[in-house]
Amino acid sequence: MTREEVIAGLAEILEEVAGVDPADVSEEKSFTEELDVDSLSMVEVVVAAEEKFGVKIPDDEVQNLRTVGDAADFVLKNL
Protein backbone atom coordinates (compact mmCIF):
# COMPACT_ATOMS: atom_id res chain seq x y z
CA MET A 1 0.00 0.00 0.00
CA THR A 2 1.40 3.38 -0.97
CA ARG A 3 1.47 6.47 1.24
CA GLU A 4 -1.03 8.14 -1.11
CA GLU A 5 -3.41 5.21 -0.70
CA VAL A 6 -3.19 5.38 3.10
CA ILE A 7 -3.92 9.11 3.10
CA ALA A 8 -6.83 8.62 0.71
CA GLY A 9 -8.13 5.88 3.02
CA LEU A 10 -7.85 8.16 6.04
CA ALA A 11 -9.71 10.87 4.13
CA GLU A 12 -12.54 8.44 3.43
CA ILE A 13 -12.76 7.54 7.13
CA LEU A 14 -12.70 11.20 8.17
CA GLU A 15 -15.52 12.01 5.77
CA GLU A 16 -17.64 9.11 6.98
CA VAL A 17 -17.04 9.64 10.70
CA ALA A 18 -16.66 13.39 11.07
CA GLY A 19 -17.93 14.91 7.83
CA VAL A 20 -14.48 16.25 6.88
CA ASP A 21 -14.22 17.31 3.23
CA PRO A 22 -11.64 14.97 1.61
CA ALA A 23 -10.14 18.01 -0.15
CA ASP A 24 -9.14 19.39 3.27
CA VAL A 25 -7.18 16.28 4.23
CA SER A 26 -3.42 16.50 3.80
CA GLU A 27 -0.23 15.33 5.55
CA GLU A 28 0.33 18.33 7.82
CA LYS A 29 -3.26 18.80 9.03
CA SER A 30 -3.88 18.03 12.71
CA PHE A 31 -6.95 15.96 13.48
CA THR A 32 -8.29 17.93 16.43
CA GLU A 33 -7.19 21.50 15.73
CA GLU A 34 -7.46 21.80 11.96
CA LEU A 35 -9.88 19.07 10.93
CA ASP A 36 -12.10 19.62 13.98
CA VAL A 37 -12.30 15.94 14.97
CA ASP A 38 -13.35 15.78 18.63
CA SER A 39 -11.99 13.25 21.09
CA LEU A 40 -14.89 10.80 20.77
CA SER A 41 -14.82 10.93 16.99
CA MET A 42 -11.04 10.38 17.07
CA VAL A 43 -11.76 7.05 18.76
CA GLU A 44 -14.05 6.19 15.85
CA VAL A 45 -11.34 7.19 13.35
CA VAL A 46 -8.81 4.93 15.08
CA VAL A 47 -11.14 1.91 15.17
CA ALA A 48 -12.11 2.43 11.51
CA ALA A 49 -8.43 2.79 10.51
CA GLU A 50 -7.54 -0.46 12.27
CA GLU A 51 -10.20 -2.24 10.26
CA LYS A 52 -9.41 -0.58 6.94
CA PHE A 53 -5.62 -1.07 7.09
CA GLY A 54 -5.48 -4.25 9.18
CA VAL A 55 -3.23 -2.71 11.83
CA LYS A 56 -3.51 -2.48 15.61
CA ILE A 57 -3.29 1.05 17.02
CA PRO A 58 -2.75 0.85 20.81
CA ASP A 59 -4.56 3.46 22.93
CA ASP A 60 -1.28 4.92 24.23
CA GLU A 61 -0.12 5.43 20.64
CA VAL A 62 -3.12 7.56 19.67
CA GLN A 63 -1.82 10.69 21.42
CA ASN A 64 1.24 10.60 19.13
CA LEU A 65 -0.93 10.68 16.01
CA ARG A 66 -1.41 14.44 15.88
CA THR A 67 -1.52 14.89 12.12
CA VAL A 68 -2.73 12.89 9.16
CA GLY A 69 0.94 12.36 8.26
CA ASP A 70 1.65 10.90 11.72
CA ALA A 71 -1.19 8.43 11.22
CA ALA A 72 0.08 7.50 7.74
CA ASP A 73 3.59 6.92 9.17
CA PHE A 74 2.20 4.64 11.85
CA VAL A 75 0.07 2.64 9.45
CA LEU A 76 2.87 2.15 6.90
CA LYS A 77 5.32 1.10 9.63
CA ASN A 78 2.93 -1.47 11.09
CA LEU A 79 1.33 -2.94 7.95
Binding site: A18, G19, L40, S41, E44, V47
Partner: protein, 408 residues
Protein backbone atom coordinates in the same frame (compact mmCIF):
# COMPACT_ATOMS: atom_id res chain seq x y z
CA UNK B 1 -45.00 36.96 47.59
CA UNK B 2 -46.85 37.16 44.29
CA UNK B 3 -45.77 34.78 41.56
CA UNK B 4 -44.40 36.33 38.37
CA UNK B 5 -46.64 35.64 35.37
CA UNK B 6 -45.23 33.17 32.86
CA UNK B 7 -46.24 33.13 29.20
CA UNK B 8 -45.63 30.94 26.16
CA UNK B 9 -43.79 32.80 23.40
CA UNK B 10 -42.65 30.00 21.09
CA UNK B 11 -43.46 26.41 20.14
CA UNK B 12 -41.80 23.65 18.15
CA UNK B 13 -42.67 20.06 17.34
CA UNK B 14 -41.96 17.10 15.16
CA UNK B 15 -44.75 14.55 15.27
CA UNK B 16 -46.48 11.72 13.42
CA UNK B 17 -48.74 14.37 11.87
CA UNK B 18 -46.11 16.83 10.68
CA UNK B 19 -42.55 18.06 10.84
CA UNK B 20 -43.50 21.26 12.63
CA UNK B 21 -46.26 22.85 14.72
CA UNK B 22 -48.24 24.36 11.83
CA UNK B 23 -48.51 21.13 9.82
CA UNK B 24 -49.26 19.11 12.96
CA UNK B 25 -52.02 21.53 13.99
CA UNK B 26 -53.56 21.57 10.50
CA UNK B 27 -53.61 17.76 10.45
CA UNK B 28 -55.13 17.64 13.93
CA UNK B 29 -57.93 20.03 13.04
CA UNK B 30 -58.63 17.97 9.92
CA UNK B 31 -58.85 14.80 12.02
CA UNK B 32 -55.99 12.94 10.35
CA UNK B 33 -54.51 9.81 11.87
CA UNK B 34 -50.72 9.51 12.04
CA UNK B 35 -50.87 5.75 12.61
CA UNK B 36 -49.55 3.38 9.95
CA UNK B 37 -48.41 -0.23 9.58
CA UNK B 38 -44.88 -1.12 10.67
CA UNK B 39 -43.48 -2.53 7.45
CA UNK B 40 -39.99 -3.09 8.87
CA UNK B 41 -38.80 -6.69 8.79
CA UNK B 42 -38.38 -6.77 12.57
CA UNK B 43 -42.07 -6.10 13.06
CA UNK B 44 -43.28 -9.18 11.20
CA UNK B 45 -43.57 -11.42 14.25
CA UNK B 46 -44.69 -8.86 16.81
CA UNK B 47 -48.22 -8.93 18.21
CA UNK B 48 -48.38 -5.18 17.49
CA UNK B 49 -47.47 -4.11 13.95
CA UNK B 50 -48.70 -0.50 13.90
CA UNK B 51 -47.27 2.76 15.23
CA UNK B 52 -47.41 6.50 14.76
CA UNK B 53 -44.04 7.21 13.17
CA UNK B 54 -42.56 10.63 12.50
CA UNK B 55 -44.08 12.35 9.46
CA UNK B 56 -40.72 13.90 8.56
CA UNK B 57 -37.50 11.98 9.14
CA UNK B 58 -34.86 13.81 11.22
CA UNK B 59 -32.41 13.37 8.31
CA UNK B 60 -34.43 15.97 6.40
CA UNK B 61 -33.63 18.56 9.07
CA UNK B 62 -30.25 17.63 10.58
CA UNK B 63 -27.01 16.74 8.84
CA UNK B 64 -25.68 13.20 8.72
CA UNK B 65 -22.74 13.79 11.04
CA UNK B 66 -24.90 15.34 13.76
CA UNK B 67 -27.32 12.42 13.48
CA UNK B 68 -24.50 9.85 13.81
CA UNK B 69 -23.77 11.24 17.25
CA UNK B 70 -27.25 11.44 18.66
CA UNK B 71 -30.14 9.19 19.49
CA UNK B 72 -33.35 9.72 17.52
CA UNK B 73 -34.96 11.18 20.65
CA UNK B 74 -32.16 13.75 20.86
CA UNK B 75 -32.65 14.63 17.20
CA UNK B 76 -36.35 15.21 17.91
CA UNK B 77 -35.35 17.54 20.76
CA UNK B 78 -33.02 19.61 18.59
CA UNK B 79 -35.58 19.85 15.77
CA UNK B 80 -38.41 20.94 18.09
CA UNK B 81 -36.14 23.33 19.99
CA UNK B 82 -34.92 24.99 16.77
CA UNK B 83 -38.48 25.70 15.69
CA UNK B 84 -39.48 26.99 19.13
CA UNK B 85 -36.35 29.16 19.36
CA UNK B 86 -37.00 30.77 15.97
CA UNK B 87 -40.75 31.04 16.61
CA UNK B 88 -40.11 33.01 19.80
CA UNK B 89 -37.69 35.32 18.04
CA UNK B 90 -34.95 34.38 20.48
CA UNK B 91 -32.20 34.40 17.87
CA UNK B 92 -32.39 38.20 17.82
CA UNK B 93 -33.25 38.68 21.50
CA UNK B 94 -29.71 38.88 22.86
CA UNK B 95 -30.53 36.64 25.82
CA UNK B 96 -28.12 36.35 28.70
CA UNK B 97 -27.22 32.62 28.65
CA UNK B 98 -27.14 32.62 32.45
CA UNK B 99 -30.87 33.46 32.42
CA UNK B 100 -31.74 30.69 29.91
CA UNK B 101 -32.80 27.28 31.21
CA UNK B 102 -33.74 23.97 29.59
CA UNK B 103 -36.09 21.29 30.90
CA UNK B 104 -36.56 18.44 28.43
CA UNK B 105 -37.35 14.90 29.45
CA UNK B 106 -38.09 11.57 27.87
CA UNK B 107 -39.95 8.60 29.24
CA UNK B 108 -37.52 5.89 28.18
CA UNK B 109 -34.36 7.64 26.98
CA UNK B 110 -32.03 6.38 24.26
CA UNK B 111 -33.34 2.83 24.20
CA UNK B 112 -32.81 2.30 20.49
CA UNK B 113 -29.17 3.35 20.86
CA UNK B 114 -28.72 1.01 23.82
CA UNK B 115 -30.20 -1.92 21.95
CA UNK B 116 -28.34 -1.25 18.69
CA UNK B 117 -25.01 -0.90 20.51
CA UNK B 118 -25.73 -4.08 22.47
CA UNK B 119 -26.13 -5.85 19.12
CA UNK B 120 -22.71 -4.51 18.11
CA UNK B 121 -21.22 -5.60 21.43
CA UNK B 122 -22.59 -9.13 21.02
CA UNK B 123 -21.61 -9.46 17.36
CA UNK B 124 -18.31 -7.58 17.15
CA UNK B 125 -17.01 -7.06 20.66
CA UNK B 126 -16.49 -4.10 22.97
CA UNK B 127 -13.98 -2.22 20.82
CA UNK B 128 -16.63 -1.70 18.13
CA UNK B 129 -19.09 -0.06 20.52
CA UNK B 130 -19.44 3.60 19.51
CA UNK B 131 -17.69 6.15 21.73
CA UNK B 132 -20.87 8.22 21.34
CA UNK B 133 -22.97 5.51 23.04
CA UNK B 134 -23.24 7.07 26.49
CA UNK B 135 -24.22 10.63 25.47
CA UNK B 136 -26.67 9.03 23.04
CA UNK B 137 -28.44 6.83 25.53
CA UNK B 138 -28.35 8.93 28.71
CA UNK B 139 -31.87 10.09 29.61
CA UNK B 140 -30.66 13.67 30.08
CA UNK B 141 -29.17 13.64 26.57
CA UNK B 142 -32.06 15.45 24.82
CA UNK B 143 -31.98 18.24 27.43
CA UNK B 144 -28.20 18.41 27.30
CA UNK B 145 -28.05 18.66 23.49
CA UNK B 146 -30.64 21.47 23.54
CA UNK B 147 -28.76 23.25 26.33
CA UNK B 148 -25.53 22.98 24.38
CA UNK B 149 -27.08 24.23 21.15
CA UNK B 150 -28.36 27.43 22.77
CA UNK B 151 -25.57 27.76 25.42
CA UNK B 152 -28.10 27.62 28.24
CA UNK B 153 -26.38 28.26 31.57
CA UNK B 154 -29.21 28.73 34.07
CA UNK B 155 -29.61 24.96 34.44
CA UNK B 156 -30.43 22.01 32.21
CA UNK B 157 -32.83 19.48 33.69
CA UNK B 158 -34.40 16.23 32.58
CA UNK B 159 -37.42 15.05 34.54
CA UNK B 160 -38.58 11.52 33.88
CA UNK B 161 -42.07 10.42 34.86
CA UNK B 162 -43.04 8.06 32.02
CA UNK B 163 -46.03 9.41 30.10
CA UNK B 164 -46.27 12.53 32.29
CA UNK B 165 -42.70 13.61 31.47
CA UNK B 166 -43.43 16.28 28.86
CA UNK B 167 -45.96 17.98 31.11
CA UNK B 168 -43.72 17.65 34.15
CA UNK B 169 -40.91 19.36 32.22
CA UNK B 170 -43.21 22.31 31.53
CA UNK B 171 -44.20 22.45 35.20
CA UNK B 172 -40.52 22.48 36.20
CA UNK B 173 -39.89 25.26 33.70
CA UNK B 174 -42.67 27.28 35.34
CA UNK B 175 -41.04 26.68 38.73
CA UNK B 176 -37.63 27.74 37.42
CA UNK B 177 -38.95 31.09 36.27
CA UNK B 178 -41.06 31.65 39.38
CA UNK B 179 -38.06 30.87 41.58
CA UNK B 180 -36.08 33.54 39.76
CA UNK B 181 -33.53 31.10 38.32
CA UNK B 182 -34.28 31.92 34.68
CA UNK B 183 -36.13 34.41 32.46
CA UNK B 184 -36.62 32.00 29.58
CA UNK B 185 -36.90 28.19 29.62
CA UNK B 186 -37.09 25.76 26.72
CA UNK B 187 -39.37 23.06 28.12
CA UNK B 188 -40.90 19.90 26.73
CA UNK B 189 -40.49 16.23 26.05
CA UNK B 190 -39.30 13.75 23.45
CA UNK B 191 -39.61 10.05 22.74
CA UNK B 192 -38.40 7.74 20.00
CA UNK B 193 -38.61 4.08 20.94
CA UNK B 194 -40.34 2.44 18.01
CA UNK B 195 -38.29 -0.73 18.31
CA UNK B 196 -39.28 -4.36 18.87
CA UNK B 197 -38.22 -4.51 22.52
CA UNK B 198 -40.30 -1.62 23.92
CA UNK B 199 -43.19 -2.74 21.71
CA UNK B 200 -42.91 -6.33 22.97
CA UNK B 201 -42.74 -5.06 26.55
CA UNK B 202 -45.83 -2.87 26.28
CA UNK B 203 -47.61 -5.59 24.30
CA UNK B 204 -46.84 -8.15 27.01
CA UNK B 205 -48.55 -5.84 29.49
CA UNK B 206 -51.58 -5.94 27.15
CA UNK B 207 -51.37 -2.15 27.07
CA UNK B 208 -51.25 -1.74 23.28
CA UNK B 209 -53.85 -1.93 20.58
CA UNK B 210 -53.53 -4.96 18.33
CA UNK B 211 -55.87 -3.59 15.69
CA UNK B 212 -53.16 -4.27 13.11
CA UNK B 213 -55.50 -4.42 10.14
CA UNK B 214 -57.01 -0.99 10.76
CA UNK B 215 -54.13 1.24 11.85
CA UNK B 216 -56.01 4.52 11.55
CA UNK B 217 -58.82 3.18 13.72
CA UNK B 218 -56.58 1.69 16.39
CA UNK B 219 -56.29 4.68 18.72
CA UNK B 220 -59.86 5.28 19.92
CA UNK B 221 -60.02 6.89 23.36
CA UNK B 222 -63.36 6.47 25.19
CA UNK B 223 -64.76 4.26 22.42
CA UNK B 224 -66.23 0.94 23.50
CA UNK B 225 -63.96 -0.83 21.02
CA UNK B 226 -60.70 0.59 22.45
CA UNK B 227 -58.08 -2.06 23.11
CA UNK B 228 -54.95 -0.17 24.13
CA UNK B 229 -52.70 2.67 23.05
CA UNK B 230 -50.72 3.09 19.82
CA UNK B 231 -47.04 3.91 20.26
CA UNK B 232 -45.99 7.23 18.75
CA UNK B 233 -42.71 9.12 18.46
CA UNK B 234 -41.64 12.73 18.26
CA UNK B 235 -40.99 15.80 20.34
CA UNK B 236 -42.55 19.03 21.51
CA UNK B 237 -40.83 22.00 23.11
CA UNK B 238 -42.29 25.34 24.16
CA UNK B 239 -40.64 28.58 25.17
CA UNK B 240 -41.72 29.71 28.64
CA UNK B 241 -40.87 33.29 29.48
CA UNK B 242 -41.45 35.65 32.38
CA UNK B 243 -44.24 37.89 31.14
CA UNK B 244 -42.51 41.22 31.78
CA UNK B 245 -39.41 39.92 29.95
CA UNK B 246 -41.54 38.89 26.97
CA UNK B 247 -43.44 42.20 26.88
CA UNK B 248 -40.24 44.23 27.18
CA UNK B 249 -38.82 42.66 24.03
CA UNK B 250 -42.13 42.87 22.20
CA UNK B 251 -42.51 39.09 21.90
CA UNK B 252 -45.68 37.56 20.50
CA UNK B 253 -47.52 35.79 23.33
CA UNK B 254 -49.59 32.66 22.67
CA UNK B 255 -51.07 32.09 26.11
CA UNK B 256 -50.25 32.23 29.77
CA UNK B 257 -49.20 29.18 31.77
CA UNK B 258 -51.24 30.11 34.82
CA UNK B 259 -50.57 27.10 36.98
CA UNK B 260 -49.44 23.52 37.36
CA UNK B 261 -50.41 20.68 39.65
CA UNK B 262 -48.22 17.64 40.28
CA UNK B 263 -49.23 14.71 42.47
CA UNK B 264 -48.49 11.03 42.86
CA UNK B 265 -50.92 8.18 43.36
CA UNK B 266 -49.16 5.94 45.86
CA UNK B 267 -51.45 3.25 44.49
CA UNK B 268 -49.92 0.92 41.89
CA UNK B 269 -46.82 0.84 39.71
CA UNK B 270 -48.80 0.81 36.45
CA UNK B 271 -52.54 0.70 37.14
CA UNK B 272 -54.24 4.09 37.22
CA UNK B 273 -56.36 4.77 40.28
CA UNK B 274 -59.91 3.80 39.14
CA UNK B 275 -61.28 7.23 40.06
CA UNK B 276 -58.12 9.15 39.13
CA UNK B 277 -57.75 10.24 42.75
CA UNK B 278 -54.24 11.60 42.21
CA UNK B 279 -55.14 13.00 38.79
CA UNK B 280 -58.06 14.89 40.31
CA UNK B 281 -55.79 16.34 42.99
CA UNK B 282 -53.37 17.46 40.27
CA UNK B 283 -56.19 19.25 38.41
CA UNK B 284 -57.34 20.90 41.63
CA UNK B 285 -53.78 21.94 42.47
CA UNK B 286 -53.36 23.51 39.03
CA UNK B 287 -56.56 25.51 39.44
CA UNK B 288 -55.54 26.72 42.89
CA UNK B 289 -52.05 27.54 41.68
CA UNK B 290 -53.45 29.63 38.87
CA UNK B 291 -56.26 31.18 40.90
CA UNK B 292 -58.79 30.11 38.27
CA UNK B 293 -62.34 28.99 38.96
CA UNK B 294 -63.39 25.59 37.57
CA UNK B 295 -66.24 27.28 35.67
CA UNK B 296 -63.70 29.11 33.46
CA UNK B 297 -62.10 25.84 32.36
CA UNK B 298 -64.04 25.28 29.15
CA UNK B 299 -61.74 22.63 27.68
CA UNK B 300 -59.64 19.69 28.83
CA UNK B 301 -57.06 18.12 26.55
CA UNK B 302 -57.26 14.72 28.20
CA UNK B 303 -54.55 12.17 28.76
CA UNK B 304 -56.95 9.52 27.36
CA UNK B 305 -54.65 6.98 25.73
CA UNK B 306 -57.24 4.47 24.46
CA UNK B 307 -56.71 1.96 27.27
CA UNK B 308 -59.79 0.40 28.84
CA UNK B 309 -59.24 1.54 32.46
CA UNK B 310 -57.36 4.83 32.25
CA UNK B 311 -59.68 6.68 29.90
CA UNK B 312 -62.73 6.41 32.13
CA UNK B 313 -60.89 7.10 35.39
CA UNK B 314 -59.84 10.48 34.04
CA UNK B 315 -63.45 11.31 33.17
CA UNK B 316 -64.45 10.67 36.80
CA UNK B 317 -61.68 13.02 37.94
CA UNK B 318 -62.69 15.80 35.53
CA UNK B 319 -66.33 15.57 36.63
CA UNK B 320 -65.39 15.77 40.27
CA UNK B 321 -62.95 18.68 40.04
CA UNK B 322 -64.09 20.75 37.05
CA UNK B 323 -67.71 19.74 36.46
CA UNK B 324 -69.68 18.63 33.44
CA UNK B 325 -69.25 21.80 31.35
CA UNK B 326 -65.77 21.43 29.76
CA UNK B 327 -65.45 20.02 26.25
CA UNK B 328 -62.91 17.22 26.17
CA UNK B 329 -60.70 15.95 23.43
CA UNK B 330 -58.12 13.19 23.10
CA UNK B 331 -55.59 14.12 20.45
CA UNK B 332 -53.87 10.75 20.96
CA UNK B 333 -56.66 9.40 18.75
CA UNK B 334 -54.67 11.02 15.91
CA UNK B 335 -51.06 11.20 17.13
CA UNK B 336 -50.84 7.92 19.01
CA UNK B 337 -49.16 8.01 22.40
CA UNK B 338 -45.83 9.84 22.36
CA UNK B 339 -45.07 8.75 25.96
CA UNK B 340 -42.56 11.29 27.32
CA UNK B 341 -43.40 13.77 24.57
CA UNK B 342 -47.18 13.45 24.94
CA UNK B 343 -47.65 16.12 27.60
CA UNK B 344 -45.60 18.61 25.61
CA UNK B 345 -47.35 17.96 22.30
CA UNK B 346 -50.75 18.12 23.99
CA UNK B 347 -49.78 21.37 25.72
CA UNK B 348 -49.08 22.80 22.28
CA UNK B 349 -52.53 21.66 21.12
CA UNK B 350 -54.13 23.15 24.25
CA UNK B 351 -52.35 26.48 23.74
CA UNK B 352 -53.44 26.64 20.09
CA UNK B 353 -57.00 25.74 21.08
CA UNK B 354 -57.05 28.78 23.38
CA UNK B 355 -55.46 31.04 20.76
CA UNK B 356 -57.60 29.93 17.82
CA UNK B 357 -60.83 29.15 19.66
CA UNK B 358 -61.03 25.63 18.29
CA UNK B 359 -60.75 22.18 19.83
CA UNK B 360 -59.25 19.44 17.65
CA UNK B 361 -61.41 16.35 17.25
CA UNK B 362 -61.28 12.98 18.94
CA UNK B 363 -61.42 10.62 15.99
CA UNK B 364 -62.72 7.06 16.08
CA UNK B 365 -65.19 7.79 18.87
CA UNK B 366 -67.89 5.83 17.06
CA UNK B 367 -69.49 4.07 19.99
CA UNK B 368 -68.82 6.03 23.19
CA UNK B 369 -68.35 4.19 26.47
CA UNK B 370 -71.57 4.23 28.50
CA UNK B 371 -69.76 5.95 31.36
CA UNK B 372 -68.64 8.86 29.15
CA UNK B 373 -71.02 11.50 30.50
CA UNK B 374 -69.00 14.49 29.30
CA UNK B 375 -69.08 16.42 26.03
CA UNK B 376 -66.29 15.36 23.66
CA UNK B 377 -65.36 17.06 20.38
CA UNK B 378 -65.97 13.79 18.53
CA UNK B 379 -65.11 13.37 14.83
CA UNK B 380 -64.96 17.09 14.02
CA UNK B 381 -63.14 20.13 15.39
CA UNK B 382 -65.29 22.33 17.63
CA UNK B 383 -65.23 26.13 17.51
CA UNK B 384 -65.61 27.83 20.87
CA UNK B 385 -64.12 30.56 23.04
CA UNK B 386 -61.79 29.09 25.64
CA UNK B 387 -60.72 31.42 28.46
CA UNK B 388 -58.90 28.61 30.27
CA UNK B 389 -57.99 25.00 29.51
CA UNK B 390 -56.32 22.10 31.26
CA UNK B 391 -53.90 19.57 29.84
CA UNK B 392 -53.71 16.32 31.81
CA UNK B 393 -50.86 13.82 31.75
CA UNK B 394 -50.52 10.66 33.79
CA UNK B 395 -47.60 8.26 33.83
CA UNK B 396 -46.68 4.72 34.86
CA UNK B 397 -45.41 5.01 38.39
CA UNK B 398 -48.46 7.00 39.46
CA UNK B 399 -47.30 10.44 38.25
CA UNK B 400 -50.02 13.02 37.60
CA UNK B 401 -49.49 16.45 36.05
CA UNK B 402 -52.14 19.01 35.15
CA UNK B 403 -51.17 22.22 33.35
CA UNK B 404 -53.49 25.22 33.30
CA UNK B 405 -53.24 27.55 30.32
CA UNK B 406 -55.31 30.75 30.01
CA UNK B 407 -55.74 33.48 27.41
CA UNK B 408 -52.86 35.94 27.56
Amino acid sequence: MSKPAVVVTGMGATTPLGGDVASTWDAMLAGHSGVSPLTQEWAANLPVRIAAQLAVEPSEKLDRIKLRRMDRSEACALIAAAEAWADAGLAEAGLDPERLGVVVGSGIGGATTLLAQDDILEQSGPRKVSPHTVPMLMPNGPAAFVGLEYRARAGVHAPTSACATGAEAIAWGLDMIRAGRADVVLAGGVEAVIHPLPIAGFASMRAMSTRNDEPKKASRPWDKGRDGFVLGEGGGIIVLEREDHARARGARVYARLAGAGMTSDGFDIVQPHPEAEGGARAMLAALRDGGISPKDVMHVNAHATSTPVGDMAEVVGVLRVIGDHPVLTATKSMTGHLLGAAGALESIATILSIRDGVIPPTINLDDPDDALNLDVAAHKARQMTIPAALNNSFGFGGHNVALLFIQA
